[in-house]
């Protein structure tokens, strides 16, 4: 029994951290936040050269052929750095969808481009507020043409390839769409976290290809996998937020002592640490289940997703509060974390959605 990452995996993680420290300090996130650029293109290129986008893509398709534990470590570091790149939707969802449901031709057509970063992928499910599950969507496919409007689509304005959830003759499925093709109209939307862009995409008879076997159940499994990896991204953000807060409260003096010496702050820092540790343990367990295609994955994915989302949000709320006035200024970095935690919680279904799923799955597990 060994419930920890291997030394090789930790080494890979350190490499990723060093690279991001050099190429994606928080200033990079802020730069995207404040500019009109949708994402940090050079960082995206660099990441591809590090093999991150293609981490789990087989070498035959130009990937690095790593495992999911390695990808989890990369996701964690991307989260720690608040890297302003369209990573999750492209790597955790679009790439995964192709790997699991793509035909040889589809893989050959897209995986190499996704691996080398020349194409960005995304995932389009929601069409209106409050939509988490694929079941209730309205977009339809007929004779290989997709129609319907997706709102919002993360990175939808910069992606080349969209994996779109739609209905075809009454059944839910996933479809590949080249967003530069005809019948696709995209509009960039103002984002709550402008370091990650959002768009509305209207499909009007856009050409699409079905992903084989990607039925409702398969979509759920796909979201489970993405949820685990996203949990690591959230965990990274929470860890970084807590570290920055810790450093601040130790150096900030009031009433003649560091504010970190006041129990009101100390004890809430301890609670945050617990919250994050629990999220870490749940995420590790889920990563193990993911890497081993274990039957526990559906439950583990819920645990990881819920714990990481809530730990990240709570940490960012306290981060601003403990910084006091300066924490509320644009100039300080607290709001970068405050925004990102909400952005990631909104992807792939909200914690509320996953909580209900968890109970459903625990019941099934008990019954079995």
């Amino acid at each position: 029994m060994n419930f920890d990452f291997s030394d090789e995996q930790k080494l890979l993680q350190q490499t990723a951290r060093d690279y991001l420290a050099a190429h994606s300090p928080l200033a990079t996130c802020r730069e995207i936040l404040e500019s009109d650029q949708p994402y940090a293109a050079s960082l995206w290129k660099g990441a591809a050269e590090m093999g991150w986008q293609g981490a789990v893509i087989p070498e035959e398709f130009g990937g690095a052929g790593f495992g999911y534990l390695e990808l989890a470590m990369i996701a964690y570091e991307v989260g720690r750095a608040l890297a302003p790149i369209p990573f999750g939707p492209s790597v955790f969802v679009a790439t995964e969808a192709l790997l699991r449901h793509g035909s040889a031709a589809q893989k050959t057509a897209w995986l190499p481009k996704l691996a080398n970063g020349s194409a960005i992928g995304t995932f389009a499910l929601a069409e209106k507020p409050g939509q988490n599950a694929a079941e209730s969507i309205a977009a339809t496919v007929k004779d290989g043409k997709l129609s319907g409007t997706k709102l919002p689509v993360a990175d939808g304005d910069v992606a080349k390839l969209a994996v779109v959830a739609a209905q075809e003759s009454g059944a839910t499925g996933l479809y590949l769409v080249d967003l530069d093709g005809p019948g696709v109209e995209r509009k960039t939307l103002e984002s709550f976290d402008p370091s990650r862009s959002q768009a509305r995409i209207a499909f009007d008879g856009a050409r699409c290809e079905k992903l084989a076997g990607a039925d409702a159940a398969a979509i759920a499994r796909l979201l489970d996998r993405a949820a685990v990896l996203t949990a690591f991204e959230q965990l990274g953000g929470a860890d970084r937020a807590l570290e920055i807060t810790r450093a601040f409260i130790v150096g900030r003096y009031a009433f003649g002592k560091p504010i970190a010496a006041f129990q009101a702050i100390k004890h809430r820092m301890a609670d945050l640490w617990c919250e994050i540790e629990l999220a870490r343990s749940n995420a590790y367990y889920a990563a193990w289940a993911l890497a081993n295609e274990d039957a526990e994955l559906p439950v583990a994915a819920c645990l990881a997703r819920i714990a990481a989302s809530e730990a990240f949000e709570k940490t960012t709320i306290e981060m601003i509060e403990f910084h006091g006035g300066v924490g509320y200024t644009w100039e300080y970095d607290c709001h970068l974390f405050y925004r990102r935690s909400k952005q990631l919680a909104g992807l792939l279904g909200t914690p509320k959605y996953w909580k209900n799923l968890l109970i459903e799955r625990l019941r099934t597990a008990k019954a079995a």
């Binding site: 499910l125 929601a126 209106k128 507020p129 409050g130 939509q131 988490n132 599950a133 079941e135 209730s136 709102l151 919002p152 993360a154 939307l189 103002e190 984002s191 709550f192 976290d193 990650r196 959002q198 509305r200 130790v250 150096g251 003096y253 009031a254 009433f255 003649g256 002592k257 560091p258 504010i259 006041f262 009101a264 702050i265 949000e313 709320i317 601003i320 509060e321 006091g324 006035g325 300066v326 924490g327 509320y328 200024t329 644009w330 100039e331 607290c334 709001h335 405050y338 909400k342 952005q343 919680a345 909104g346 992807l347 279904g349 909200t350 914690p351 509320k352 959605y353």
Partner: protein, 412 residues
Amino acid sequence: MDFNDTADEAAFRAEARTWLAKNARPRTAMTPTISGEDLTLDVVKQSQAWQKKKAEAGWACITWPKEYGGRSATPIQNAIWGQEQSKFETPPDVFSIGIGMCGPTLLTHGTPEQKTRWIPKLLTGEEIWCQLFSEPSAGSDLAGLRSSAVKQGNDWIVNGQKIWTSGAQICEWGILVVRSDATVAKHAGLTFFVVNMHSPGIEIRPITQINRGQGFNEVFFSDVRIPDDQRISAVGNGWAVSITTLMNERMSIGSGMGVGAIEDLVGFVEKLEIDGEPAIEDRQVRERIAEYVVKARGLKYTSLRTLSALSQGKTPGPEASMSKLVGAVLQQHAASFAMELAGASSALLDDLAPERAAWQQRYLSLPGLRIAGGTDEVLRNIIAERVLGLPPDARADKGISFKDIPTGPPKS
């Protein structure tokens, strides 16, 4: 126990309503004023015009003494006036600091000459006021402020930096607390002044908030001269004067807060569907909102109890601290919850988001509310010590002169 107006109250309400009906348009939609709005000059003019109109009719600062232009109204009358005025469209208020904090402070601690000099133009809105208290290194620990005032002949020379000053650009006057003696204990070395914001040596820089608002400023003082007759109360008595301001600040920030926004949630979830089902039928949604509403109503009724106490001549307790402490966190949670219900759309700050992203906007403004005018932590201390009479924290800054108090990690 009676919520109905007495005959006098009813008469006063009618009088207020009549005047308002003649001078303002009835309010149509509730337009929540988000903290830290940018102030356009146009807004300022409208606000001044409305204040002038009220002043001429005797409806400005009605609780203030008649001699200074008020009508010596009772707290109840003031509440009634507030209720009635809120039913009409009125321009954004740029006088909340001046009327809410500066005025009361001057009325309490100013000399007759000082009151006659400043109160009337403050009341008519001709002169706008701001507050110069917090400093980068003195927030919760206000008495740890470092800006200095040195006596030179009949003037004081002020140097240092203030922060979190609302509307500094548009103000004529500011109330200022600075350190006049660093060799005595921290609270004993402060002195309180009124400073003209156009004085040479004052530089104002706006602060951008996380919600992109620019309601606050940094104000830099370099050898700013303040005549001694603009000193409020005795040299070294600045702390006592500041407390008056802060009590009034918490009351104005705290009062009757957030109730509206909370109950908006009911309407929000009546319209919203979650994965094809009406959100209002979801018991987790219902119970969570119910918990919020219970607190929000509790705050509302508490402010009515406070009013009753005032009307019975009791001095207001720390209920206002509670109102801000509970209300700000409550609204932040409610905004976060509303965002979660919106699902992926919560990632939008776009008009295409539910309620045109009003909840997202609130989520971005509320952290400021939890900090401004006393952080949650400061307010809990106030309640614990002043209401429950619990002992003070162990202090590392007691019984030593200000200059010897640690202000950062030991240099090693």
